[in-house]
Structures are given as structure tokens and as C-alpha cells.
Subunit: 239 residues, 2 copies
DNA sequence: TCTACTTACGAACGCTGTTCGTGTCAAGTA
DNA sequence: TACTTGACACGAACAGCGTTCGTAAGTAGA
């Protein structure tokens, strides 16, 4: 097919094509989708730009750099949390529910948790809301201020660390499900069991318990451990 | 100065220069030095090769890739740990000593802890030795098998996570010391204090306790919390 | 001496984050 | 209406990084 000739400056020239419109929110949502489907390591400026039908350089009008994009991603995810109204009679169960929620929320985005590990101090709006909510629950439980202050740190570290741990057991972009970690843990179990027993008697003997994978049992164990341990610090003094 | 002419194949030819000799151990030690002085982000194959007076490609005869180098680095660091002989009468104090040792050992290498976060299951010789030692201590305390199995996971996560947290408060390559985290925490304290009190009443009111920085108090708090909490799980049943 | 294997390592490749320079568009002003 | 300014869009290019490929050198064994 022969293309029609183009006449410069002729009457009725076709109007210039409108530039596409980006926004910070659009970029963040797109980046989150990339992480969800392909994992954190697949997230790069070109990949996000490709999804948006533009070039990587275009993103820099809206986000300073990739680090900022990651911060925005995390804040976006933390914004999905619902904060309970503290009830002194039920603070403990509320705390556990909230932490389950927080962890599931983070785990739902696969290995994004790895980025969360590097930004543990809450500085963004949603993360601060989350920290405030957790503090409120611990205070509702009547724990002393300093115990709550240190406690919220320990608890947060645990929550994020377990999310990282969980994500390392599934493939990037893969949805976490009942058996998603099983193949990995089976492999570890086999590895533990095959170690030389004279050097690692306990690991070999306990390969099964070490790699036990029953729903959220491991996380729940940690929650009880943390809260029992926290309550036990109520009488602690600080110089 | 006019250079002396070079005669090909002449008598008394100067012997060929000997190729330098690398080794996996040398590469690991060099990489560790780079991390110690410049931080984890400065660690790359070219940087290590430069320190060794060679090219990055040379390293690949000894390490498969950068990931393997990181694994070797961590194993190298874990190898510095001394493992206590468990004493049932003192298992708890021994556990705390061991964890202090493990954390200080990791923290001594600055932000290398971030790499440790991504390899939480012990698979290398030294890490396995460490896990075995920790298990031995918990078992010496008479705790049930499954409690020890899950406990060693929680404790390990906490130890590594706090090392990561610690490293995020000092500059890469900077030695951790008494006041190294103070400027950072002062900044956070100021930030917390300046937040809108109607949205964040507890964070604003507790800015001081939240950013309290007294020696290893925060870590020690976590140790007691964890061990108290662990002991409290002794009677727990698992389906 | 020759062969085979191991190690050493430069050049080059693909990928990633980011900057620079140019173009486009919209709003405001004269 | 024409011009100016600022914000946004975005290709080309740059520097840096992990890694591979091909070639060279050294060593051990036959």
C-alpha cells in the first residue's frame, strides 16, 4: 500500500497528538502491580515506564528516584491497614489481630517486605498511623510507657522480619497460599536431615520440627511469645 | 629517555611475570574489608578486584557470582562466633551471652546485616554451627522440641533484624560506638515531636521513650522479652 | 616436548538508575 | 492575539554493575 503524501503547512492539518498524563499515584499503583506479579527484583524504572507506555525518564517528573518510589510503595501498602479502636479489656487480642492484619497485608505483596526491612522507623503518614495504632493498643493494656516504646519496636521488627522470611520461601510474584512454602521447606528438611549427625545432632534430629509448616502456626507462636514476653517486662525499671 | 630496544627470542630474556595468585579466602577477606570500611552498597566485584590489583573477571574463577560471595562473607563472619557448652543451670544467661556475641559480631561489620536478613535459614557450615549451639542452649533449658524449633527461628530473626536496624542508624563503614546512632535518633526524635498531635498524640508524647538510646538497653530489653516469652510457651500444644 | 586442565583477566555485553537537553502544553500577562 | 514562563514528557546518553566469552599463561603429568 502506498502511503498518502504529507503536505507540510497545508490546510486542515491533523491536530498535534496530546501528551499522555502521568501522576505520582499512577506510577505507584503501577509499580505495585509489577512487584505483585514479578517480584521486587523485577521492579525498575524502565519496567514501570513500559507498563505506562512511556519512558523511564518520564517518571522523574513525579518521583525523585527509585528510593522514593519504594518509600511511596510502602506507604501505599500501609495505607490499606484498618486501625482498631483500643479496648482495655481486649487489647491483647486486638494487638494480635492488628499484627496478623499488618503481616498479611505486607505478605500479600510478596517480597516487597524486603524493602520494608530497610525502612523500619515509621516516617510516612500511613506507617505513622500504624505505629500510633499499635502504641495505642499497648497503652490500652496498661503497660508502662518505656515498655510500650521498646515493645512497639520489637514487635514491628518481628512482623516485618517474618514477612521477609515468608517471602523468601515463595517465588517472586507468586501468591502466597497454603502450600506455597512447602516445596522450599521440604528441601530444607531434606538438607537438614542429610547433615552429619556428629556435628549437628540437634538439627538432624529436629529437622521435622524446624521446618514444620502448619498454616500460620509459626507466626502465631511468635505473637504469643512476644506478647507474653512484653507483659513480663511490665515491672522492668530503666535507669 | 629512549627506551632500550626489545629483542624477541634473545638469550637471557627476562622471565615472564608470574601471574598473581588469588583464592576464595583472599577474595572473601578483601570483600569483608570493603564492607567494613565502605559499607555493603560499596561492595561490588570491581571494587574487590581493584583492592586485589586485578580485574573483576578474575574473581569468577573462585566465586560463582556476587550472591555466592555474599553467602561466603556471612559464613566467614559467623565463623568468628564462639559456641558455649550448654549448662542446664545457666542456659538462660548463656543464651543471652551468645546472642549478644552474635549480634555484636554481625554489627561489627556494619550493614552486612542487611545481607544476613535475606539468608535467614542457616545453610552454611558456620551458620549451622551457630544454630546448633542455640538449639543446644534452649534444649538445655528443658524446653520442648517444637518450642525450641520455633523459638530459635524467632530469636534468630530478632537478632538479625536488630543488627539491620542498628546499621541503618550509622553511616556505611562507620564504626558503631557509644554515640554513633545518637545524631540519627536525635533527628527522629525531633521529627516525632513535630508531628501534628491531634493525629499522632502518642508518638508526639512518647518521642523521647521511642528514641531512647542508652547503650544496649533496647537490645537487652528484647532479649529478656524473648526469653520470658519463650519460657511462657513451654506448656503450649501443637496440633 | 606435548597435552590437558586450571587460573587469570581484558573486552564487551546487557541491564539499571539517572541526567541532560529538547519539545510540548497550558496558564498568565501585556 | 502574541509572547513568556513553568511544568511535564521523554529520547539519547552516560556511568556503573554483574557477568560472559575468548585468549593467554602457568602447571602437572605422560
Amino acid at each position: 500500500m502506498t502511503s498518502a503524501p504529507t503536505w507540510p503547512g497545508s490546510f486542515g492539518t491533523e491536530p498535534k497528538r496530546k501528551k499522555r498524563t502521568l501522576s505520582r499515584e499512577l506510577i505507584v499503583e503501577t509499580a505495585l502491580r509489577v512487584v505483585d506479579t514479578e517480584g521486587l527484583d523485577a521492579l525498575n524504572m524502565r519496567r514501570v515506564a513500559q507498563e505506562l507506555g512511556t519512558g523511564a525518564a518520564s517518571l522523574y517528573a513525579h518521583v525523585a528516584n527509585k528510593d522514593e518510589l519504594l518509600s511511596l510503595l510502602l506507604d501505599r501498602v500501609y495505607a490499606d491497614l484498618r486501625h482498631p479502636a483500643p479496648d482495655p479489656e481486649r487489647w491483647r487480642e486486638q494487638a494480635k489481630d492488628f499484627l496478623r492484619q499488618a503481616r498479611n497485608n505486607l505478605v500479600a505483596h510478596g517480597d516487597l517486605a524486603r524493602a520494608a526491612m530497610e525502612q523500619n522507623i515509621p516516617t510516612s503518614p500511613a506507617a505513622l498511623d500504624s505505629a500510633e495504632a499499635m502504641l495505642a493498643l499497648l497503652r490500652a493494656g496498661g503497660l508502662p510507657e518505656q515498655v510500650c516504646a521498646y515493645g512497639v519496636d520489637v514487635i514491628s521488627l518481628y512482623m516485618v522480619a517474618t514477612a521477609v522470611e515468608e517471602s523468601s520461601r515463595t517465588k517472586p510474584g507468586e501468591q502466597r497460599g497454603e502450600g506455597s512454602a512447602q516445596p522450599y521447606l521440604d528441601g530444607i528438611r531434606g538438607f537438614f536431615g542429610s547433615l552429619p549427625a556428629e556435628r549437628y545432632p540437634l538439627i538432624v534430629a529436629m529437622a521435622g520440627p524446624l521446618t514444620r509448616n502448619v498454616g500460620d502456626e509459626r507466626f502465631e507462636f511468635g505473637l504469643d511469645l512476644l506478647l507474653d514476653g512484653l507483659v513480663a517486662q511490665a515491672g522492668r525499671t530503666f535507669d
